[in-house]
């Protein structure tokens, strides 16, 4: 016979936890939980906080390396960038709230990821985002794009951190569940990194930032469930952001971090005060005693349940060294932010909360963390599709028209309408952002001659058709993009966006993507240092395409050696590094021209990827290359079009050999780069490629004002630009 506390009915219990998990709480407590305790268990054991479906697979990721200072498990990952400095970064999803309330959902996604980074002592230096919207023609798409972009800009611009890059895709698979993945990157001194761990008994717990309100209650739980037609009614569970407070919070926290007052620190993100305090208590190394009457409150008569589950934004929780409270008070008062000592750490190993004189919660911390459910959900391998080569598809009648059609397609079109709304230059260290012809964003480490390169990548249509190759490709493309700007790739963060893990095929997509990503990370020495999982991206039973977004970070040791693809001059020799077999399965060409999305994606040979990439980076460092662009979506035709548009010079390509022309132009074979080389250096680089056993193919010469192929196909740069820039304004109803 299941027992319930006086303030709980079986229905209330069932709305918080599945029956077996509820039974476990009774077992842990030796009595039925009250409503506050039930709320705490339910958010801590939600998919969002506990990773209960994904943990068993995530442990396969390689998470260590000689540059890794902190891997997954803290607020963000930390890597060593030399000279006593560290780069701290993470990517996180805000999918569910952004669909329900796009402006605030996206804005608070940015705010949350920034806090993860400055919580660790880093000054944020860059923001990125990876966005997936539904089909352009879908009724909600325009409104969602408009709201999400305004929200990202509204928050990032105000807080004063440049939004330097990202990617945006459109696909009907996201009609009911858009993806908003935000990434933040910061810099700290390696001896000034702050962790959630480190508290000892007898230390004050200090709350700072905004007051606690009733917004976002059960946000983490919402992010762990599917949508249905009534999802719009969940708007009250979306939080409201205030970037002005965040800006003050950044400055105040960094000021406090310059003192020696802090024992541990955690931002209040998902599950708010509950998860921040529980995470700092570790696995019960210390206990927590908090008086909820002391929590700064925005509204009257808030219950203990509401305070513990609120996801009000711009709040942080510090555990200070005893007697240092006055230092925090002085700093936070100066910045006109709330500051309150709300409790202390104890040696009981329990979380005890009082409210209005009553003890409203008494939970042992170790089982709350350690006994969180972990599921080995059944999963099924995807059924492999067959490869599609050019000789199976009719050649296009008009190649010039085909290229223009591809360049105006949603995935390849210019996203200037979006990034013009983001401040990309504040902090005065941006060397390359979305507007610049470079495969990754480049942000100088302030006051030095080195720079951080950042990219976000994933090709969901590959993951859909072959999750293992798709997972590999997401990692490989990030590595390749960093290489193409001349960076040493160091580590990644990820945002694993999938459907309902209780379905075998979805869990299979997750497991196989992780398998592919893990292999790529291992071979490319590109470990995972932080990440986030977003499941249940389904509406009325339709799941999103599997989307394991990868955020890659690399280091450019010498700014003067950074690379782009915008300075090609007439007479430069064009070459492709890597071989082209003409893989068209799951390609943009198939989708846009043939209206087919089937086929096995191009296979990723990680050994070849590494060999070719290492060669390219070495040639960039030795000044042998003038321009470099990775080949990915749309193949050579897309890369050459982009290079021509960015350089303002024509490119004249020549194809000979047996491969059908459409395979050569549009195939998406991996591990390839389009490079431009000064004529005088062409011989040397070919020699170097030969001795490194890297395939290097001369494919043409720059000049004129058109992209030409074999002298017969001509597309003018002006026409390319006109179509490429027309998609977004047309979609948004702002075409001139």
């Amino acid at each position: 016979m299941t027992q319930y506390a006086d303030d709980i009915t079986p229905e209330i219990a069932a709305s918080h936890l599945p029956e077996d998990e509820y039974a476990k709480t009774v077992e842990i407590l030796g009595r039925p939980p009250n409503i506050v305790e039930l709320g705490i268990f339910s958010v801590m054991w939600s998919e969002h906080c506990s990773y209960k479906s994904s943990r068993v697979h995530l442990k396969n990721f390689p998470v260590t390396g000689d540059k890794v200072i902190q891997g997954p498990g803290e607020n963000a990952g930390v890597i060593d960038i030399g000279d006593g400095q560290a780069c701290i970064f993470k990517m996180e999803s805000h999918n569910h709230p952004s669909y329900i309330e796009p402006y605030q959902g996206a804005a608070t996604g940015v705010g949350g990821i920034l806090r993860d980074v400055f919580t660790m002592g880093a000054r944020p230096i860059a923001l990125m985002n990876a966005l997936r919207f539904g089909a352009p023609e879908h009724a909600k798409t325009r409104q969602l794009v408009s709201g999400v972009v305004a929200g990202i800009g509204g928050y990032g611009n105000c807080v004063g951190v440049p939004t330097v890059g990202g990617e945006t895709n459109f696909h009907a698979g996201y009609n009911g569940n858009i993806l908003v993945n935000a990434m933040a990157v910061g810099i700290a001194d390696t001896d000034k990194i702050f962790y959630a761990r480190g508290a000892e008994p007898g230390q004050p717990i200090v709350y700072v930032g905004s007051k606690t309100g009733r917004d976002g209650i059960h946000g983490a739980t919402m992010a762990s469930a599917e949508f249905d037609d009534e999802s719009d009614e969940k708007r009250p569970t979306v939080q409201v952001g205030d970037p002005f407070v965040e800006k003050k919070l950044i400055e105040a926290c960094l000021e406090l971090m310059d003192t020696d007052a802090i024992a541990a620190v955690q931002d209040m993100g998902a599950a708010g005060l509950t998860s921040s305090s529980v995470e700092m208590a570790g696995k019960g190394q210390v206990g927590l005693l908090m008086d909820l009457d002391k929590v700064p409150q925005r509204e009257e008569s808030m219950s203990a349940y509401e305070m513990m589950l609120s996801e009000s934004q711009e709040r942080m929780l510090f555990i200070l060294k005893p007697g240092k409270e006055h230092i925090a008070e002085a700093i936070f008062n100066k910045w006109e932010l709330d500051v309150a000592t709300i409790g202390e750490t104890t040696d009981t190993g329990r979380m005890v909360l009082t409210h209005k004189g009553d003890t409203v919660c008494d939970i042992p911390l170790d089982p709350l963390a350690e006994d969180a459910p972990m599921y080995e959900r059944p999963w099924a391998r995807a059924i492999p599709e067959s490869a599609v080569f050019a000789d199976e598809l009719a050649q296009p009648k008009d190649y010039a028209e085909t290229i223009l059609t591809m360049m105006v397609s949603p995935d390849l079109s210019s996203k200037a309408w979006i990034w013009r709304q983001y401040d990309r230059h504040v902090m005065a260290d941006t060397a390359a952002s979305s507007e610049d012809p470079a495969d990754a964003a480049i942000v100088r480490v302030h006051g030095t001659n080195k720079a951080i390169a950042i990219t976000t990548d994933c090709t969901p249509r590959y993951c859909e058709n072959h999750p293992i190759e798709g997972g590999k490709q997401a990692v490989a493309e990030a590595w390749r993009n960093l290489t193409a700007v001349g960076a040493d790739p160091i580590a990644i963060t990820d945002c694993m966006n999938f459907g309902n893990p209780e379905k075998e095929n979805i869990m299979g997509q997750f497991a196989e993507c992780v398998e592919g990503m893990s292999e790529a990370c291992r071979v490319l020495n590109f470990p995972v240092v932080s990440g986030n999982v977003s499941l249940y991206n389904e509406t009325n039973g339709f799941a999103i395409p599997p989307t394991p977004a990868v955020g890659g970070v690399g280091l450019i040791p010498d700014m003067s050696k950074r690379m782009g693809y915008g300075c090609v001059k007439a007479g430069d020799i064009l070459m492709v590094v890597g071989d082209t077999a003409g893989h068209l399965g799951a390609s943009i060409y198939m989708k846009v021209i043939e209206n087919r999305e089937d086929g096995c994606p191009p296979p990723v040979d990680l050994g070849v990827e590494k060999r070719n990439g290492d060669f390219v980076r070495e040639q960039i460092r030795s000044d042998a290359i003038k321009a470099c662009h990775d080949l990915s979506d749309g193949g050579l035709a897309a890369a050459a079009s982009e290079m021509a548009m960015a350089s303002g010079t024509g490119l004249n390509l020549v194809h000979d050999g047996d491969l059908p022309l459409h395979g050569w132009l549009f195939g998406e074979d991996q591990a390839r780069y389009l490079i431009a080389v000064d004529e005088a250096k062409a011989k040397d680089i070919r020699k170097a490629a030969k001795s490194a056993s890297v395939p290097l193919h001369v494919i043409g010469i720059a000049g004129g004002e058109e992209l030409t192929i074999n002298g017969t196909i001509e597309v003018s740069i002006a026409d390319l630009k006109a179509v490429n820039e027309s998609f977004m304004p047309t979609l948004m109803g702002e075409a001139e």
């Binding site: 013009r420 990309r424 230059h425």
Partner: protein
């Protein structure tokens, strides 16, 4: 040269402003918190930086315009010493009444960030003298409320008096008569939406903004 950058809660280009001033003058400016009531003794140049002072709540620059430090900034201007407001700083100068007109929401209703081609309309000011014969420059803009407005009489007057210093070559925000930056009658207070402090370095945004700071140094 002794200079000061005023820091309001929500300022976010204060560090960039300080970097630019230090790069050109060789001396780091004093960062003056908005709750101060006096500038450091001997301050020769004051800059109001970009950002979102007070979150741009109420109206851009409105609350900063009545902040504790503002009387001292006004006194500095009344003494004829150079005062530069960039972006949010320009909005503050308008709110204090030191410069005429208003800055409305961009005509597109969108925030706009781009490298903006500008024409120097008056190269004979304390802020532009070092541009020499150069008239075309590129300086980044990044704002939501840079749509300059004034009545025709005022526009005619500031144009005829040489108070329009920068004009957009490609108007990004709907500004009246493409106005990007103006100066007061006394020639010592300039406000501009483009960010010259983001154009002092070839690795970032180009170097077309350097001459603004060089001109100030030369005239002080």
């Amino acid at each position: 040269m002794k200079s000061a950058v005023i820091v309001f809660p929500g300022s976010n280009c204060d560090r960039d402003a300080a970097m630019a001033i230090e790069k050109v003058t060789g001396t780091a400016p004093t960062m003056v918190w908005h709750q101060e009531t006096a500038l450091p003794d001997g301050t020769e140049f004051v800059m109001l930086p970009g950002g979102f002072s007070y979150g741009d709540y109420l109206r851009c620059g409105a609350m900063a315009g009545v902040s504790h430090i503002i009387p001292a900034v006004k006194a500095h201007a009344e003494d004829g010493k150079p005062l530069l407001g960039v972006c949010n700083g320009f909005q503050v100068l308008i709110e204090t009444g030191l410069l005429p007109g208003a800055l409305m929401r961009n005509a597109s209703l969108h925030f706009v960030c781009e490298k903006s081609p500008l024409t120097i309309e008056n190269g004979n000011t304390q802020f532009t003298s070092r541009y020499g014969s150069t008239r075309d420059v590129i300086i980044p803009v990044a704002h939501h409320d840079g749509n300059y407005f004034a009545d025709d009489e005022t526009l005619d007057r500031i144009e005829s008096e040489g108070q329009v210093v920068f004009r957009y070559a490609r108007n990004p925000n709907g500004s009246a008569r493409d106005i990007a930056g103006i100066i007061n009658e006394g020639g010592n207070v300039m406000g501009m939406m483009p960010h010259p402090e983001r154009a002092i370095d070839a690795d970032h945004g180009g170097t077309d903004g350097l001459a603004v700071f060089e001109s100030i140094l030369g005239s002080a």
